[in-house]
């Protein structure tokens, strides 16, 4: 089966700056893929090269098997790109804008039913005759998503679609994108919201300085980087009183709380036994899962 998207040794230089530095990445059809990284990591450059808005310095990119430069027309038929900026055409209303967009892809009147369906599913029906200028920020964001879908692309790319969007709309957009994925669309998203990538993506790539620093399923990444944290409130606030066997385990202190990074679940037993032997009482205890934020910090040393 053709890859939904394939980046092969892709580089993009702006003078001395290596914005993207030899990225190899394949995304399978039907995946919900997350592209994470701090500002300047190369996420948007990568998306813009895929979209044909920026030309790579080296390497090749394909969408559904079509090279984005040599066979750009077929590649662009395969892609629905939701740009990061809230852009719109002030001369037209929403329905006109969507029909024009479909028309550019060679979709005629027979496609209007689909356009109307997209409008309805994005809850934009009451705004179809409203000039784009008059729509609120949230509406414009939904209109951008609708525009990316009008030609029924198999691959949908969302470049930070929830930046500046309120919580309610964010939830609704994610529910909609999840539905699209369940219907068979490949979804690629870049986001700053790690909890969203964690909740939605099957697989993530983490970028730093134009390079992929981690690429795995979300589950594997979470497993690979410490299964759990053990958070304890102890009867002592003095670190030097902790048994030396415990000090070998990575931990951090926040007020009364000691958070231990568990490599194995059996570490819990060892910690409790050592504390008992040292007559230190456990006043409270909880275990927490490692999250992508922590993994990201470990891999890149940067906060997203």
């Amino acid at each position: 089966m053709k890859k939904a998207i394939a980046f092969k040794n892709v580089k993009k230089n702006y003078g001395q700056l290596k914005a993207v530095n030899g990225i190899n990445l394949s995304i399978e059809q039907g995946e919900f893929f997350g592209l994470l990284g701090p500002n300047g990591a190369g996420k948007s450059t990568l998306i813009n090269m895929l979209a044909g808005l920026v030309r790579p310095t080296a390497g090749s990119i394909s969408a559904m098997g079509f090279d984005v430069i040599k066979d750009y027309q077929n590649a662009r038929h395969s892609l629905g790109i939701v740009p990061q900026e809230l852009v719109f055409d002030p001369f037209f209303n929403l329905r006109e804008m969507l029909r024009f967009q479909a028309g550019y892809f060679g979709k005629g009147k027979s496609n209007d039913i689909w356009v109307d369906e997209v409008i309805e599913r994005l809850d934009l029906t009451s705004k179809v005759s409203t000039n784009m200028r008059m729509l609120s920020g949230g509406m414009k964001r939904r209109a951008l998503i609708a525009q990316a879908l009008v030609h029924r692309p198999p691959v949908i790319v969302l470049d930070e679609p929830t930046a500046g969007v309120d919580v309610e709309l964010r939830q609704r957009l994610w529910a909609f994108v999840k539905e699209l994925n369940e219907e068979g669309h490949t979804i690629v998203l870049t986001t700053h919201y790690l909890e969203e990538a964690e909740a939605l993506c099957n697989r993530v790539a983490m970028l730093r300085n134009g390079e992929v620093v981690a690429l795995d399923t979300t589950t594997n990444l979470l497993k690979k980087f410490a299964a759990k944290n053990l958070k304890l409130r102890l009867s002592t606030k003095k670190i030097f009183k902790l048994p030396s066997s415990i000090k070998r385990i990575n931990f951090s202190v926040d007020g009364d709380f000691y958070t231990f990074e568990l490599k194995r679940i059996t570490d819990i037993g060892k910690i409790i036994a050592a504390l008992n032997n040292a007559s230190i009482k456990i006043l409270d205890m909880e275990t927490t899962d490692q999250d992508l934020e922590n993994i990201f910090l470990k891999l890149t040393g940067n906060k997203i």
């Binding site: 813009n48 979209a51 044909g52 808005l53 920026v54 030309r55 750009y72 027309q73 077929n74 662009r76 038929h77 395969s78 892609l79 790109i81 740009p83 900026e85 852009v87 719109f88 055409d89 002030p90 001369f91 037209f92 006109e96 024009f100 967009q101 028309g103 550019y104 892809f105 060679g106 979709k107 005629g108 525009q147």
Partner: protein, 258 residues
Amino acid sequence: MNSLRNQLLGTWTLLKKELLRFWRVAFQTVAAPVITGILYLLIFSHVLDSHVEVYEGVPYMAFLIPGLIMMSLLQNSFSNSSSSLIQAKVMGNIVFLLLTPLSYIQLFFAFLISSIARGISVGICIYLIAILYIDLPIEHPWIVFLFAFFGGGLMGAFGIIAGVWSDRFDQMAAFGNFVIMPLSMLSGVFYSIHSLPASWQKVSQLNPFFYMIDGFRYGFFGQSDVSPYFSLSIVTLFFIVLSYGTIRMLKSGYKLRG
């Protein structure tokens, strides 16, 4: 996926959008230049009609009309493609076109034809109002059409170049104020170049606008300063060269694709 039918529909959609874009604001894009043209006509003909006869048996007002029509046609053809592109670039919505499978050839033709359409619309309006005042038959309609088409096309292509090149509105305005306006004003709209000193006649003959206006005027009166076929050759040559340059520019992605 990208069949010929899809491509034709894509081009037609962009053309339709560009036509609607200027039609929605016709008060500004058609009515305003028509009013300007008519004002030129009224003022110059009032001042000079009884004093000047450029072509034998042709009143000055009649002489003026084809030049004014062509000047407005050229300026508006330029404005159409250039303003559409600079607005799309500054507003950021150019991305909607760049994400589509529309090729550089499709973009070129859609912008070019809509520019010609706006120029010709303005020209027809000025003509229709002018003939309320003066009898102005067209002696060679095909010549009139060819000059209108190639002149509008030439300026439409130039507008695409200016729109792609400019990053800001003031850069775009500089094209209008320092290139288009002087070239059109000094092209023989208001006079025959035979009335100029020999050195200025030579300078005028370097101005492509002169050939567009002189040839267009021939279509009305059957009289011109230089042979209409020579003018048509010059205009066609400029049209081809500018179109080629525009297509190359669009193909390269200059200032559109990083």
